[in-house]
Symmetry: C2
Subunit: 169 residues, 2 copies
C-alpha cells in the first residue's frame, strides 16, 4: 500500500498534519510562505500584463517624486542601480519613461515618466489592487489593518540593530 501521498503540488504550501510542529512554530517560515505566495500572486498578475515588480516600483517613484537621476531613483525605488539599468531599458522600450542626458551634468541621466507611463502606472496599480484584494480576501477590514500594523512594527523593528545571539534575551 505504501500510503503514497500524491506528490506534484508545490512545496510552498503547508501540508497541515504532515508538517512537523517545530516547523509550524517558526514565524520566519510562516511569513516566508506567505511572502512566497503573495510574491507569486503579484508576479503572475504583473506578468500577465507584461510587467514585473520593478516596473511598478520605479514608475511609482517617478510619479510621486518626479524626474530623477538613476541613482536617486535606485535609492527611492529600492532597486539596485545595476538592476535598474535593465528595468529602465524595458520601460523606455514601452515608451513609459524617457531617459535624457542631464545637460547640467553629463554623467547623469534624467529619468522622466511619460504620459503613457502614468497610464501604465495606473494600470499596474489596479492590477496590484486586485491582487491585494485577493490576498486579504479572508480578512475583515480591521484585520487587514491589524496585519499591516503588526507587520510594520515587526519590520521596522528588524530594520534596526542587527540580531546578536548574546545580546538581549
Amino acid at each position: 500500500m505504501l500510503g503514497a501521498m500524491e506528490e506534484g503540488d508545490e512545496l510552498r504550501f503547508d501540508r497541515g498534519a504532515e508538517t512537523p510542529e517545530r516547523i509550524k512554530a517558526q514565524l520566519s517560515r510562516l511569513v516566508g510562505l506567505t511572502a512566497a505566495q503573495t510574491a507569486r500572486a503579484s508576479s503572475d498578475a504583473l506578468r500577465a500584463v507584461g510587467a514585473h515588480k520593478d516596473h511598478f516600483v520605479v514608475l511609482a517613484a517617478l510619479a510621486e517624486f518626479g524626474p530623477a537621476s538613476q541613482s536617486a531613483l535606485a535609492g527611492r525605488a529600492r532597486v539596485y542601480k545595476s538592476d535598474l539599468v535593465a528595468v529602465l531599458n524595458e520601460l523606455a522600450d514601452g515608451g513609459w519613461i524617457r531617459r535624457t542626458p542631464d545637460p547640467a551634468d553629463k554623467r547623469r541621466n534624467v529619468i522622466t515618466i511619460t504620459d503613457s507611463g502614468v497610464r501604465r502606472l495606473a494600470e499596474l496599480d489596479q492590477v496590484l489592487a486586485g491582487v491585494n484584494a485577493h490576498i486579504t480576501a479572508p480578512l475583515t477590514r480591521e484585520e487587514r489593518d491589524q496585519l499591516f500594523a503588526l507587520l510594520n512594527r515587526v519590520n521596522t523593528h528588524l530594520a534596526g540593530p542587527r540580531f546578536r545571539p548574546e545580546s538581549g534575551a
Copy 2:
C-alpha cells in the same frame, strides 16, 4: 555633497518618507520585506552554528515522524528531493543522521536521526527560538498570536485556488 543620502545600507529596509505611498500600500511588499528580514535573521543565526534551514527542517521531520526514506522525508520537510541529497550528506558528515540502505527495498535509504542529531536539533531549536523572540520582540503575547493567526489564514487561503483576475471582485 549635495545633501546626498548615505547609500550603502541595504535595500530590504524601508526608508519611510523616501518611499512612494503606492509601494507602501502593497501588502505583498510588506510581507516580502518582513520575510526577507526574518529569513536573514534565522539564516544568519543558523550559519553561526554551521547549519542552515534545511538542516533544522529535516532533523525536525525525523524527530517527529521517525525514520523515513528520502522521498518521504522530502515530502514532510518540504525540501526537494534533489536538494535533500546535499542536506543529508552534510547531516551525515556531522553524524546527526544515518543513511542506511533499506534491506526490504534496495532502492530506498532509511534515514535515521542519531542521538547527537537529537541534540543538534535541540540546539538549532534554541537558536531559532532566540531568533523568533527577537523578531517578535516589539509585540505582546496577544499580538504575536494575532499575527500568527492572521498570517495563517492568509496563507491557507492563498494555498487554495489560484488567483484569476476575472473571477471574484
